[in-house]
């Protein structure tokens, strides 16, 4: 990563912290500690299940909200505040600006997820008094959640590069929902024929696939995640995010900022 991208990324991270994004950690801590104490008291043999399900779902939802709502303003906010012109008047290329913004927000989400992960494991230790070997799968689920954030950040940035914040939020959120049903979408496509099948299959491969990145239920039941899935999901998320960012660069490169 060149120094200009690193500089923009660091500034984006600092700005997110200044915008009190990490305050969500307080809400997360309250939610998880409350749930841990509650299920610890009830004790109906599903303490671990509840803590893992609730913890990972909260990490995912908080992160998705942050990725969308910060991501959609990354470009438009800079235009509104006219800081973009200052940045681009320096020897900073437009693609570097996009890349820097992406890495900045992705970094914010990684830090946020890391802190939340500590919370999840603390709650897990509280309810079950000890860790099990299957808890390693929780780390894999957290890693997959981070991969989801990488894709969502890229999508938010893509829409932000040509659309208003409100529309960007709608588009990104819609793709997150559609992406959660990506496998079913491919299932629908398989049942069609001719040109419809071609179009439906194309659309099904075009939208992001979030269903394979969601293994929360699986790890909550103590099941291991196959290592080929970790490899393919990593490659898929990185390649898909790169494609979306390339789209963002293409649009932003030709956008008139006058």
């Amino acid at each position: 990563m060149n120094s200009r991208i690193l500089h923009i990324a660091t500034n984006t991270f600092r700005e997110a912290v200044r915008d009190r994004v990490l305050y969500n950690l307080v809400a997360f801590a309250l939610l998880l500690s409350g749930a841990a104490v509650l299920v610890g008291q009830i004790s109906i043999d599903i303490e671990r299940l509840v803590v893992i399900n609730l913890g990972l779902t909260a990490v995912s939802l908080f992160g998705i909200v942050i990725a969308i709502f910060i991501g959609i303003g990354l470009v438009s906010k800079e235009i509104d505040k006219r800081t973009l012109y200052t940045v681009l008047s320096r020897p900073v290329k437009r693609w570097e600006f996009i890349a820097g913004k992406f890495f900045g927000l992705a970094g914010t989400l990684v830090v946020n997820t890391f802190l939340m992960a500590i919370g999840v494991f603390a709650a897990l230790a509280y309810v079950s008094q000890h860790f099990q070997s299957s808890d390693a799968s929780v780390l894999v689920a957290l890693y997959f959640i981070v991969l989801q954030f990488v894709v969502i950040t890229a999508l938010a940035l893509f829409f932000s590069s040509f659309s208003s914040p409100l529309l960007s939020a709608v588009f990104t959120f819609s793709l997150v929902v559609i992406g959660s049903f990506a496998e079913d979408l491919r299932g629908f496509a398989k049942m069609t024929h001719g040109i419809t099948r071609l179009l439906a299959t194309g659309a099904a491969y075009l939208v992001p696939n979030f269903s394979a990145l969601n293994v929360i239920s699986q790890v909550a039941h103590g099941e291991a995640v196959a290592s080929p899935l970790v490899v393919y999901n990593t490659a898929y998320a990185l390649v898909y995010a790169t494609a979306v960012l390339s789209g963002a660069v293409l649009i932003f490169e030709h956008r008139s900022l006058k």
Partner: protein
């Protein structure tokens, strides 16, 4: 300007390259995920919970589960899995989410009650599903027909006749329900009744898998009838000539017109002890007669798409 064009070309190239790579990777992910996807269904097996989680969009969720049920059965059937443990939960969830999704009941009637490897082999669940459908759609005669068919398959001709009779009283019911009720009461186990039942299914269903299944049953019934008839002709020949024929060609004069063939065009075989066998029974999965001794059907039954 040149630098900007270079960035554009590079970004466009990267975009297409990465999208193509993501499609390839997604196929790999799908291959690894096949088993895991089905497991997901079990984690949320409560229709009530799903209904609440759907936030009022249970119709859409029912469609999703219905598609999953059809795909689950289709993929397992194609792979020759033989066991369909998730077919009942999937259909149960589908119909609980949308009790008016009629095709799901017909699908359940056919493939829940059929014995493995052609179905899940749980006729009691099929009855439960269709009875639930009748309670929620009392004016749909197809459901009574489905129910009657399950009882017919169980050889419970009295209950089958009762179901058809109930269906015949529904407004706008198909007139053949009355005929089926009478036929079931008097000639439940006849070959002709079976043919009537499968023909009705073939003609009334819109589901391709159910239609193909009915067509395969009709072909099997034809083969069963052929074998019975041919063995009768062979016996006639033996009684008149005092010995069994060595081949069908020997019977050409006065008994048969050429070498007889099964409904798919494959010639029947005549054994030395006068039995008639199918030369290719794998293609007639529901056939009961003319099977070679010790015949083991294939794990994945060959059911060809119906026209």
């Amino acid at each position: 300007m040149i630098r900007s064009r270079r960035v554009t070309v590079a970004a466009a190239g990267l975009l297409f390259l990465c999208m193509a790579a993501s499609a390839v990777l997604l196929r790999q992910v799908d291959q690894v995920r096949t088993a895991a996807t089905l497991q997901d269904v079990l984690y949320v097996s409560s229709p009530k919970l799903l209904k609440r989680l759907s936030l009022g969009y249970e119709g859409l969720l029912a469609d999703v589960y219905w598609t999953r049920a059809v795909q689950y059965f289709g993929e397992k059937h194609h792979a020759g899995g033989g066991r369909y443990e998730l077919l009942w939960p999937l259909l149960n969830i589908t119909t609980q989410l949308d009790p008016h999704l009629i095709p799901a009941y017909a699908f359940g009637q056919t493939f829940l009650s059929a014995r493995p490897p052609n179905g899940a082999g749980v006729p009691e669940k099929a009855i439960e599903l269709v009875e639930y459908g009748i309670r929620n759609n009392p004016d749909d005669w197809h459901l009574y027909y489905d129910l009657g068919f399950i009882y017919y398959d169980l050889k419970d001709y009295g209950s089958a006749a009762d179901a058809f009779l109930r269906g015949s009283r529904v407004p706008n019911a198909h007139p053949f329900l009355k005929i089926l009720a009478a036929q079931m009461a008097e000639h439940g186990g006849d070959l002709e009744t079976a043919r009537m039942m499968w023909t009705a299914t073939y003609q009334t269903t819109h589901d391709k898998q159910i239609r193909a299944n009915a067509a395969a049953h009709l072909l099997a019934l034809q083969a069963d009838q052929d074998v019975t008839e041919l063995e009768r002709v062979v016996e006639n020949y033996r009684q008149k000539t005092g010995h069994l024929p060595n081949s069908f060609a020997e019977m050409a004069a006065g008994y048969l017109r050429g070498v007889p063939s099964d409904p798919l065009g494959n010639p029947y075989k005549l054994t030395a002890d006068g039995h008639v066998l199918l030369s290719d029974p794998d293609n007639l999965p529901f056939v009961e007669k003319g099977l070679p001794p010790g015949y083991v059907p294939p794990a994945a039954p060959k059911i060809h798409p119906a026209d």
